[in-house]
Symmetry: C2
Subunit: 116 residues, 2 copies
Amino acid sequence: MTKRQASPARSAPRKVRGSRTGRPIMALLDLLGRRWTLRIVWELRDEALTSRALREACDDASPTVINDRLTELRGAGLVETLEAGGYRLTDGGRELLDLFLPLQKFANGWPPFKTR
Amino acid sequence: MTKRQASPARSAPRKVRGSRTGRPIMALLDLLGRRWTLRIVWELRDEALTSRALREACDDASPTVINDRLTELRGAGLVETLEAGGYRLTDGGRELLDLFLPLQKFANGWPPFKTR
DNA sequence: CATTATGCTACGAATATTGTAGCACAGGAG
DNA sequence: CTCCTGTGCTACAATATTCGTAGCATAATG
């Protein structure tokens, strides 16, 4: 059961949590089902952002999480760091994002989300 | 619905956590960015499932979470309970799912997820 | 009544996330 | 060089969420 400490294991997503089936779709669903992951991809849709700009864009989420997610997303090859600084989607990341774009239309047209 | 006292403040998903912008897409992204939410929608793609069948389909996730998610999804009008028992996607839920179906193809073709 | 299945709750332990502070390392300006 | 400012990133205590297991009440069936 690993051990429990304040935070010594925040470096790598050792495994695909929650899905032990091995099916790629499950791994992807699991990766995207973590807090801020979808949001980060979304915020990078138009342009590259620095880690701080990204943080602000994400309702000032904790840098801890942003960094964890960024590491995971880089590991999945969906996001890359720019040598000049900042992060942006890879070609694959953009490909994924394109699948999500219709979501906005769906959200806007779906009553339960309209007046939140 | 549900009261909890083990953890001090665990009464209800009172708000759209993490997104205070009010934009529907953020609310949706946030809803879907919770553990098991995407997976649950995914597992309901073909047929209605009982709560237990759903639990098993989701790698035996804790009934606590399954229930919380189901409540949230019902609140969002994406899932509904059958009078005969069990859960299934609403028309809106299926509409959302349709947007996600291409994801499987993407996952299968995306190297980082192939051999996990 | 015994059995099986349903939806759902309880709750301690394990993990994850939040919020705030601050580090080391570039530039750029003075 | 020294004082800024911005970068990516880490530390860590406080919270919140999730996990795992047990178990309830109800209903349908044998």
